[in-house]
């Protein structure tokens, strides 16, 4: 009597194909559909390793809340992610900069924070109150709380750069220097430089609130910037390109993030604040309209206002903390770097990026386009 094997090639193929489908099925139905209590879906910045290795473990140890961290490279991508998450869910909290809050809010993405669940007194003066406080509120509700802040200023080669005396944004447009820029920041720098030297028909800030003024002012800035374009050797859009612009492509001055200057501090490059005032950014947390883990989000925002949390958060970005008492807990390297660039005068002159509406961003991109194509 012959026994026939039940496993032949054909039935194997059939069953495995069905099996593979069955195995894949649970992946299609999210296991997170029923929200658990001890976790938080957080979307933040990519490229800062400390978050996974130091910051979030410390937060989990302190509160028992597990952070599911999704890293994205820039705010535009975060905005896209937020728009998708508005339909699909899965995101509770995102970390944009303060100038985007208006645009995000007008897109219906934001929910209000509950100040009673936070510790608003923890923040350093000027970061969550005053002008920044006004920008954080929409229709009386708190839409944004700070997490850290930093600057965009002149990174320069200590040997060959000619910054002027005192150092000025004009160095970026001087034929004496070879520069690395990102187009839209460069146009803003040109505008502020022209403004400071009295060459604009009206204040540069008008352009951020009035689109008619924007066209008038940016036309002037564009024309001047195109004249000075010959000394631009590299565009940058992220940390790597900026770094390579200096080290491999010979740029001597650039309008770059503080982190670029920090990373190059041992290679003969310095970081200086121009007399017009450094560009400054203000980063913080927003709560998604359809957030599931609302209390956990408040816990994280509150933790980042404590001395320990604020210091860790700022150290991870090599930037500045928002909480009182955090400065003492920062890494000495980062503190020294900042104090070397910003004395009280430079701090008082910081120029915070104003709010930029969706319409403004579209128009700004058009100007950046013309600048690049010229």
């Amino acid at each position: 009597m012959t026994t026939k094997s039940t496993l032949n090639r054909r039935s194997f193929l059939q069953t495995t194909a069905v099996g593979a489908g069955a195995l894949a099925a649970p992946a299609l139905i999210s296991s997170k559909a029923l929200a658990s209590s001890g976790e938080l879906n957080f979307v933040g910045w990519a490229g800062y390793d400390n978050f996974k290795t130091i910051v979030f473990p410390a937060f989990e140890a302190a509160t028992g809340i597990k952070v599911n961290f999704k890293e994205l490279p820039d705010q535009e991508t975060m905005f896209g992610e937020a728009k998708v998450a508005l339909e699909a869910g899965g995101v509770d909290m995102i970390e944009p900069t303060i100038d985007r809050v208006g645009a995000w809010n007008s897109n219906g993405i934001l929910a209000a924070w509950d100040p009673a669940k936070l510790a608003m007194d923890n923040y350093l003066p000027g970061l969550a109150d005053g002008a920044a406080g006004e920008r954080s509120h929409k229709d009386g509700a708190l839409m944004y709380v700070p997490s850290n802040w930093g600057t965009e200023s002149l990174v320069y080669n200590k040997e060959s750069a000619k910054l002027g005396d005192p150092a000025s944004l004009g160095a970026l447009f001087s034929p004496d220097n070879e520069v690395t820029l990102r187009p839209h920041s460069a146009l803003a720098a040109m505008g502020r430089w022209l403004d400071a030297t009295g060459k604009l028909p009206r204040p540069w800030m008008d352009g951020y609130s009035d689109m008619g003024a924007m066209a008038e002012l940016w036309d002037i800035a564009l024309a001047e910037a195109i004249k000075a374009k010959g000394n631009v050797v590299q565009w940058w859009s992220g940390e790597n390109e900026a770094n390579a612009g200096f080290t491999a492509n010979g740029a001597t001055v650039g309008l770059c993030w503080d982190s670029t200057g920090y990373n190059l501090r041992n290679d003969g490059y310095g970081y200086a604040a121009p007399v017009e005032g450094a560009f400054a950014w203000h980063q913080g947390f927003i709560l998604m309209k359809n957030a599931k883990n609302v209390d956990q989000a408040h816990e994280l925002a509150k933790w980042v206002s404590t001395p320990e949390g604020a210091a860790m958060w700022a150290t991870a970005f090599s930037s500045n903390p928002v909480g009182k008492g955090a400065a003492d807990k920062m890494s000495p390297d980062v503190s020294a770097y900042y104090n070397g660039t910003f004395n009280d005068d430079a701090l008082a002159k910081l120029w915070w990026w104003p709010d930029q509406s969706a319409e403004f961003l579209t128009k700004r991109a058009e100007y950046a386009d013309k600048y690049k194509a010229a």
Partner: protein
């Protein structure tokens, strides 16, 4: 189909078809239809989507004519919308890339198909394929390092006293051209080689016996025979170049701009996905038109290429 039933049985065939249909529908057709649909809608805040302002419009496509600048095109001063200029330059340089690829690929293919002994062919193929084992990003970035001011090329030439000062090789469209030719030349070599190896060598010998000089043999015998191969290589290289984002982004200079970069700017700088979608379809449409036109000009049919 009947053959598939015999081979895999009914249910497996069904599943294979289902997976293929899923792939086509969900990953190719639906995303493109969504893109096409959104390209006709205005950019609106999320709260206004579906509201009275959400009407179909051609406005996104017409944005390509906004914002004119003064420039010179091949020495002639023109007043032209900046995106039309970018588009024209993208098409022009893609044609240049295609021609350069052909110039490089033709002798090499002839060498592989007719001259080299079949024994060394596998080694030849291996040598050609090796670069493909490295990711395209890394290869483009490697070129960026080579061509940078303080890169090895400048250092070598200075060391050899051929130049006094390091040179910034990436200027204008140089870097983009080098990167694109390097990345896509294989897409020209293989179709041309394929066509050439199907040519009976006796024809070449006959031509030589009848006293034809080498250039006439190529012009009258080899080239016409390879036309379908050249056409399919040219179409591939051209479309890939015009649609490339990575190489122009990494190897672009401060004066070069590729149309795909403009699309990316609409997407990520202006956050206007609708206009980005419209621009993407413009690129697809115009490139398809251009390719069909050129194919008609050279009397090549789509069916010839498919062979």
């Amino acid at each position: 189909m009947g053959d598939m039933f015999r081979r895999y049985g009914k249910s497996a065939t069904f599943i294979i078809c289902l997976i293929t249909a899923f792939w086509l529908l969900m990953l190719v057709i639906l995303p493109n239809v969504t893109l096409l649909e959104s390209s006709f809608r205005p950019l609106l805040p999320v709260t206004e989507i579906g509201g009275p302002n959400d009407q179909y419009t051609f406005a996104n496509y017409l944005k390509v004519f906004n914002g004119s600048i003064d420039t010179t095109l091949m020495g002639i001063p023109v007043h032209i919308p900046v995106h039309v200029l970018t588009f024209t330059l993208t098409l022009f340089y893609s044609v240049v890339v295609t021609l350069l690829c052909f110039v490089l690929a033709y002798p090499l293919s002839y060498f592989m198909a007719k001259i080299i002994s079949p024994k060394s062919l596998p080694t030849m193929f291996l040598l050609l394929f090796v670069p493909l084992w490295v990711s395209e990003v890394l290869r483009a970035f490697a070129w960026w390092i080579i061509l940078a001011l303080k890169g090895p090329l400048s250092s070598l030439l200075v060391w050899l006293h051929l130049i006094d000062q390091p040179i910034r090789w990436i200027s204008g469209y140089n870097g983009v051209l080098i990167g694109l030719v390097y990345t896509y030349v294989l897409f020209m070599i293989f179709p041309v080689y394929n066509a050439m190896s199907s040519l009976d060598s006796n024809q070449i010998e006959a031509a030589e016996d009848l006293g034809s000089p080498w250039w006439r043999t190529h012009l009258r015998i080899v080239l016409p025979h390879c036309k379908p191969g050249i056409a399919s290589g040219a179409v591939m290289v051209f479309m890939l170049s015009a649609g490339s984002l990575l190489v122009p982004t990494i190897l672009g200079s401060t004066t070069s701009q590729w149309f795909t970069q403009t699309i990316q700017q609409w997407m990520f700088d202006a956050l206007d996905w609708n206009t980005a979608a419209a621009y993407a379809f413009l690129l697809l449409l115009m490139c398809t038109l251009f390719v069909s036109l050129v194919m008609r000009l050279f009397r090549v049919k789509l069916a010839d290429i498919a062979k």
